[in-house]
Symmetry: D2
Subunit: 127 residues, 4 copies
């Protein structure tokens, strides 16, 4: 298991819905932004130029508490290889004064080439 | 288990990302639109006026195939009560010529009142 | 000026923000969906296969009234060629009981080829 | 006219569409994030608690060049009062090596109270 990678996300108007809280699907955006920073923009662009992209294969999410406008979430991410073809990210969104994760989940990624075929996770793409 | 509720979703520019396929988080939007139609807009507005709202508690999703611009997905939804406090939606997105679901998942909902407290699923809100 | 093309848009959770109303940027999504239906999905896919795409060049929008969850907007669109290279869409979002457009605007489109060069609007792409 | 406020926006998967570039409506999100940082999260929350919110009234946008995945845009914002009731933000998105703004626009804001009535721009809300 990797070290924990921290990434801050501030909640803007666009992230909320009329319930007053963050729209549930948007945590997947926050988690992806954090993954891109954990892996690194340069590495992702380099892989993409080589015709390889990460694709989300499986998601499990549990929501415990809602975030609201102006909150600054701490997205905490760790990852581990699951065989040669799967990369598991364990990701949590923490409120500033949270005693547990407000939202947590498992995001399982695979890699595909330009023809949509599975390729092994390029381990040199990992921090 | 309820009957299967069908809801069409056409893929627009806004739904795709630069990979050429639908952005993974957007299936949660499609599934929610389908749930709102399955339950019914009038019932949801009526519940909301009574201070009760559905909230997503848990999500499990598996992605098998990507949809692209111009595709018209058939969102297939069934649901069942899981005790008094949980409503499980089984939802799938099918491509027009699909042999299996392109994306499928379980979306578990709970109901909360205006103070954020859990309340039983109002069964008269179900079709 | 073309005939008026009508396209309905129901407001879902995803469209609103914590103010209780539709997030301002989302009207651009509604307007684009309406344009895609006005031009036609088949024609757009055919143009795209030929390496030609519509691109938004200029936008003017005025917001008079907000829409909320459950509202069903009537998007009214007309268009006209502005020279050979510009296509002007005049678009409005009407609330069910509206006395004037809730949001209205001008969306000016151009066409580009695969190298990002301007090409004339393919007039056979217009209804 | 205020000083220029700079705000960086990195382009993620979620921001792009299948054309390979940023989806046109998303610049409005970037501009709003920049405005929220220019005015300040604390001030906006304080105003909201007092029942006052900023609302977008008018938008003019011109798109010159597209941004793509991995780009880091510099959002440049200046603002000026236009009478007592309107606040004009002049906003531009610059690519790293841009010779002119990739996207630029005018976003005109008004303030409303809890009953949706226009109130003067609270000038102590401005930096």
């Amino acid at each position: 298991m990797s070290n924990t990678f921290h990434f801050p996300v501030q909640i803007y108007y666009e992230d909320t819905d009329f319930s007053g809280l963050v729209y549930h699907a948007n945590y997947l955006k926050f988690f992806e932004r954090a993954r891109e920073h954990a892996i690194g923009r340069e590495k992702l662009l380099h892989l993409w130029d080589a015709g390889i992209g990460f694709v989300v294969y499986k998601i499990e999410l549990t929501y415990s508490e809602g975030a609201k406008f102006g909150d600054i979430l701490d997205i905490r991410s760790t990852f581990e290889l699951d065989g040669s073809y799967r990369l598991n990210f364990h990701q949590e969104a923490w409120l500033p004064d949270g005693k547990k994760a407000a939202t947590k989940g498992l995001i399982q990624l695979v890699c595909i080439d330009g023809n949509g075929r599975l390729v092994p996770i390029p381990t040199d793409s990992l921090p």
